[in-house]
Amino acid sequence: MSSREILLRKSFPGRVFALIPWVLGLLFGAVAVHLILILTLPALAPGSAYRQFARPLPLGEKRVLARAEPSMSRPSFSDPFAAVALCRFDLRQGPLRLRASADGDRPLSVSVRLADGTVIYSASDRQTPGGRFNIVIVTQAQADAQDAARERAEDDSGEAAKSAEDELRLISPGKTGFAVVRTLALRESDYEKAAARLDAVACSLETTP
């Protein structure tokens, strides 16, 4: 056995051992990159529903989406029988109030979503009094400020201060997001009437007491 072969034999396990930290580093790095991408994509994906339709929308304004047809790629998997309106909220600028109401036969529903797409509230007209929605979206701090203002008003007047009976106060875990109002056409020919129901949807920026 030559001296060179002896040297190679002796150094081989050592070289493999030296590779282990690099292989572990590679795997750890790949997992880290994967997790970072999965966690950040919902907020950063340029084609997300929030970035495409809600983020460009001024606060307090609503946007009625065009009816789904084959030439439209977004929102993907849209129901051609659903007429959809969106309102954006940014609670750093103040709470958002959303009003909508159904007109009897045609189903209407409301969902509130964070900017990353998480649905934090959804309900249909059958679950609200008279098929009406009156939702105010707030942060916990804004809710506390509203409660304190009501208590002060009670102390001043001696009467219990009431919020609107049908008001639903929704405390959002995130600062930004959007509300979606969806009304349905019962038949192909019914779409325009269903979409007209969205005219009555109102979004407004509220002031914090």
Binding site: A49, P80, F81, R126
Partner: protein, 194 residues
């Protein structure tokens, strides 16, 4: 540590980023979430519509640019295969038969793989429960086909691969998987192929 020992670092970093990006792209091509409810050829992901959505489902939904139904709005069931497990193919006719799902209202729509409605000669992109012809006991049969068919016809358009989505609005089911036990959805049976 001598600097010469860190020579592989740029290569390992680049490989880690490439591997991480590849794994992410692969995971985004899969199903939207881990909690699928399977009913025959139909699948649904109830947590897509509530705050318990998992990070993978959230990422898939954002990248697809979808606006999934909230749990209180309804539930969507997706079929990419027929009763035998064969991929849906617009060169064939399909009979979609059963009774109405437990919902106030439902729609049935065909899409391509990217989630677009399918161009077709009738310029009709779906059917609704309110406009459906059905028998006295509530049973119905829909023919999904490229060419016009008598009765309930769902036009499929020209592209071969397609996906069916059945949306049960204001469904009487909850997001709990146990609530789906006993629920039957329409069957999808392949007929003649051209």
């Amino acid at each position: 540590m001598p600097l010469s020992n860190l020579k592989p670092l740029p290569i390992v970093l680049a490989a880690a980023v490439a591997l991480g990006v590849a794994a992410t792209m692969l995971s985004l091509r899969g199903e939207p979430g881990f909690d699928a409810v399977r009913l025959g050829p139909w699948s649904s992901w109830p947590r897509l519509g509530n705050s318990e959505i998992d990070p993978y489902a959230r990422a898939v939904s954002a990248v697809e640019g979808a606006l999934p139904l909230g749990g209180g709005e309804g539930l969507a069931f997706v079929a990419q295969v027929d009763e035998t497990g064969s991929p849906l193919d617009a060169r064939c006719d399909y009979q979609i038969s059963g009774t109405a799902p437990p919902a106030r209202f439902w729609t049935l729509t065909a899409y391509d793989a990217a989630g677009r409605l399918r161009t077709n000669i009738a310029e009709r992109y779906g059917l609704t429960s309110a406009a459906l012809l059905h028998s006295a006991d509530g049973a119905f049969s829909i023919t999904a086909a490229r060419e016009a068919r008598p009765g309930n016809w769902l036009p499929l358009g020209e592209k071969s691969r397609f996906i069916l989505v059945l949306r049960a609005y204001q469904a009487n089911t909850s997001a709990l998987a146990s609530a789906f036990e006993g629920l039957t959805l329409p069957t999808i049976t392949r007929g003649l192929c051209s």
